[in-house]
């Protein structure tokens, strides 16, 4: 067990706190448990649930952010996902979209496949983002801090990353129920 693990909140607790602060911002959620948990806690038409294409959530969000420069675009991502598509941190850092907020729930494991360790315990992804050129980068460990920092990032020009250390707990949440084409159509209409 990691030293800080006992005191950390779960990803779902962290997500619930952030979802309360979001209204109609386009939100792209990475594959695996994150999409399932968001769907269970607060399903909104402005949510795009990724079910495959691991590693691509911030790239999809970047495309939305570039197409809709007047909307603040948020992506919920995981450490395994970020590591798989780490080049996108560089693309975001170089392009510097002001309307881009990257939230990383870092539990240091591939949760959906059985909690195999990632390498984010030794590779600080927030520091990678900072080095790549993200303008605002915050790393938080508890609920009060994450609410404070997320509120602050919503007011700032990005690109921003909020990395939240969470424990390995996963909610009992079923698969994404909407058909993928329906997710596309619903999302497009909601962010028009």
């Amino acid at each position: 067990m990691r030293p800080e693990q006992g005191t950390l909140i779960s990803r779902a607790q962290a997500m619930a706190a952030l979802l309360e602060l979001l209204t109609d911002q386009p939100l792209i959620v990475c594959n695996g448990f994150p999409s399932r948990e968001v769907q269970k806690m607060a399903d909104r038409p402005t949510h795009f649930y990724m079910i495959g294409s691991m590693g691509n959530a911030p790239a999809i969000a970047l495309g939305v952010a570039l197409a809709k420069p007047h909307k603040q675009v948020v992506t919920f991502d995981g450490d395994g996902n970020v590591l798989m598509g780490m080049g996108t941190l560089a693309t975001v850092g170089a392009l510097k979209p002001k309307n881009f907020i990257h939230v990383v729930f870092d539990n240091e494991v591939y949760g959906t496949t059985g909690n195999q360790p990632t390498i984010s315990n030794v590779v600080p992804l927030d520091k990678v983002a900072k080095a790549a050129g993200y303008v605002n980068v915050e790393r938080v460990l508890d609920r009060e801090d994450l609410i404070y920092e997320f509120k602050d990032l919503l007011k700032k020009d990005g690109p921003s990353m909020l990395l939240i250390k969470v424990n390995e707990f996963a909610e009992d949440a079923g698969r994404v129920v909407l058909d993928p084409p329906e997710i596309t159509q619903r999302f497009m209409k909601a962010i028009e």
Binding site: I51, S53, N56, G85, M188
Partner: protein, 165 residues
Amino acid sequence: MIESDAFVQSLQDMGVNFFTGVPDSILGGIIAELMDRRLYTPAVREDEAVAMAAGAYMGGKIPAVLMQNSGLGTSLNTLISLNVIYRQPCILIVSWRGQGGKDAPEHLVMGEVMPQFLDTMKIPYRTLTEKTANEDFKWMAGTFMKQRIPLALFITKGVVKGLHP
């Protein structure tokens, strides 16, 4: 030989208004023209470019992704587990390296199997020629609207003017 500016203009006339990708020498002239027109958003990997294009499509854009055919291998999972199942179309402008077995060794296998590879993935494709260019563009527009999945236009060496003719 098709001029790069005429090629880009034809894509714009079709309504394409979001361009990303990873460069190839065959596509050098097209990318230079896109950069001149401030239309090009560079990606670092082809799967990232395809995912960016999917996001741009959902934000109301008509996207095109430029890549060397090796990039089809890199972006395979994104093309099928994002674009195809979610019905998110994009135009893939793919340079056909290794065509006819005359290229550097790393291009020969993909150069030979590329059409079968796209057949297997059920991604429609066509090869651009100067003679059929008008029909090729009409086919792209029609397929994009009708099928709502990625489609590929192969660019062979010398068909569109490159950087060093």
